[in-house]
């Protein structure tokens, strides 16, 4: 059992979410930066999809009632990143704020074993499915270890430039012809009201070529949706499964972790170029 002493600004349990229920109105949810959760899990010998803790801007404290192997990945903290470490019974794990990035993943050997909902332990901030966000006093059960620890070192990946590669469409034709060039021109600034639903951006306005409403249609993670304000939103894990604003482009899967690690105030650029 792990006791949350302080969750930091926002912390939730996350695994790989609830795929397959979008037609019933259920967001996929799951870790915003899937690669970092998987890495943290591998470091402690877990299957990649076990539930861990997603910290938003760090600053959390936990007491481990039982000793356990743990690992951190994602936004780098002063603590050891990318190596499994042992937390003794009764030990306290104190985590500071990340030097860069937004979301850090704490994996514990055996995984966080809260009750799953629709096959997932993820907190869905949009629909409320899954466990409540962590609070001081939340008790988190830990599952039995599965398999041995194989990796013992994963050098933290080099920081990636804040560039998101997009594939145009499916509704690029709802915008003026130069809108994609505008999107990929000057950088956008990440707004304060960004969250697990999406990264809200402020910058050059993306003008529409047509008026009227788009009938509601299925949405995907990474979709760059443009509300009437002309200011784009990049959908993250808790995005609504359907939406009525046109999507000008979709961020490549390989760049979703970059989007998930953007902080309010960061500058980000888009490109339609394929290469890195």
């Amino acid at each position: 059992m792990i006791e949350v002493l302080a969750p930091g600004p926002y912390a939730t349990v996350q695994d790989l979410g609830r795929p397959g229920y979008a037609h019933l109105g259920v967001p996929r949810s799951g870790a915003a930066d899937v690669g970092s959760l998987k890495l943290a899990n591998r470091l402690v010998g877990n299957p990649e999809g076990l539930a861990g803790i997603e910290l938003t801007f760090g600053m959390a404290r936990f007491r481990f009632r039982d000793g356990a192997w743990a690992a951190l990945a994602g936004a780098p903290l002063e603590a050891e990143m990318g190596v499994p470490f042992w937390v003794p019974a009764g030990g306290e794990l104190r985590l500071g704020a990340p030097a860069r990035g937004m979301r850090t993943y704490l994996a514990v050997r055996g995984g966080i074993a809260v009750e799953p909902v629709l096959g997932s332990r993820s907190t869905d901030s949009l629909s409320g499915l899954g466990p409540e966000p962590l609070r001081a006093g939340t008790l988190l059960p830990v599952g039995p270890p599965l398999g041995g620890i194989h990796a013992d070192l994963a050098p933290p990946p080099a920081p990636r430039p804040p560039v998101l590669r997009v594939l145009p469409g499916p509704r690029a034709d709802w915008f003026v012809p130069e809108a994609l060039d505008v999107l990929c021109g000057r950088p956008y600034e990440v707004s304060q009201d960004s969250n697990r639903v999406g990264v809200r951006l402020r910058g050059p306005e993306l003008a529409r070529a047509r008026n009227g409403e788009l009938p509601s249609e299925g949405m995907v993670v990474g979709a760059v949706q443009v509300p009437p304000s002309g200011q784009p939103i990049v959908f993250l894990a808790d995005h609504p499964p359907t939406g009525g604003y046109p999507v000008i482009g979709v961020v490549r899967a390989a760049d979703l972790p970059v989007a998930a690690q953007l902080r309010p105030g960061d500058q980000v650029r888009f490109t339609t170029r394929r290469g890195p």
């Binding site: 795929p19 109105g25 629909s127 594939l167 009938p215 509601s216 249609e217 299925g218 995907v220």
Partner: protein, 206 residues
């Protein structure tokens, strides 16, 4: 027309909800390899298949859309009609009657008088947009949405009716309530309403 949606998604334009339902049902019955999500909308069906061969999937999707478009007369809505008992004592019943210019009893009879079809789900898990509402009951949402609408509330807004699957904020006009649980995470599937399903409301005493 099939539009790409990033690397893993394809959006088939159907142009009608009925064709969306047929394509959705066909893809669910014979799901192409690697397909994780099939999401119908009023004029589209989104298919998400990470790791699948997008060229092959696109060809398959085109073939299904063409085939289903050709099946004229085959109604999308099949299967049994789900009956939802409703106690018509909603907070907006009188204002809906006033806006429609009809007596309350007629609001109820018109709401129950037609078979509705689950168009698609969105807004919240299990929240179904029920299509086919009597046009007399079409009206705008409330100017100021309620901060909390109880689960089981039966409501109308625009050309749709809905049953609130859980407590949530909401701007739809409340006609009544049902004791039927339309959303239950312990059930499989968790949603009573699925796209294409036929629904009828039935008045019951409180």
């Amino acid at each position: 027309m099939i539009r790409p949606v990033g690397e893993h998604g394809l959006l088939a334009e159907t142009g009608s909800l009925e064709l969306s339902h047929r394509v959705h049902a066909a893809l669910r019955a014979e799901r192409p390899e690697g397909v994780v999500e099939i999401v119908p909308g009023p004029e589209t069906v989104l298919v998400v298949a990470p790791g699948a061969d997008q060229g092959r999937l696109r060809a398959r999707l085109e073939a299904v859309v063409d085939r289903e478009r050709g099946r004229t007369g085959a109604g999308a809505a099949e299967g049994p009609v789900v009956t939802i008992p409703v106690v018509y004592d909603g907070a907006d019943l009188d204002s809906v009657a006033a806006l429609a210019g009809i007596p309350v009893a007629e609001v109820i009879s018109r709401h129950c008088g037609r078979e509705l079809v689950v168009g698609w789900l969105g807004f919240a898990p299990g929240f179904a947009y029920l299509t086919g509402l009597d046009p007399v009951l079409e009206m705008p949402r409330l100017d100021t949405p309620r901060t909390s609408v109880p689960a089981g509330s039966v409501a109308v807004a625009g050309p749709y009716s809905a049953v609130y699957p859980g407590p949530s904020p909401g701007g739809w006009r409340l006609l009544g309530r049902t004791s039927v649980q339309v959303w239950d995470v312990a059930a499989d599937p968790p949603s009573l309403f699925r796209p294409g399903m036929r629904v009828r409301f039935e008045p019951v005493a409180a």
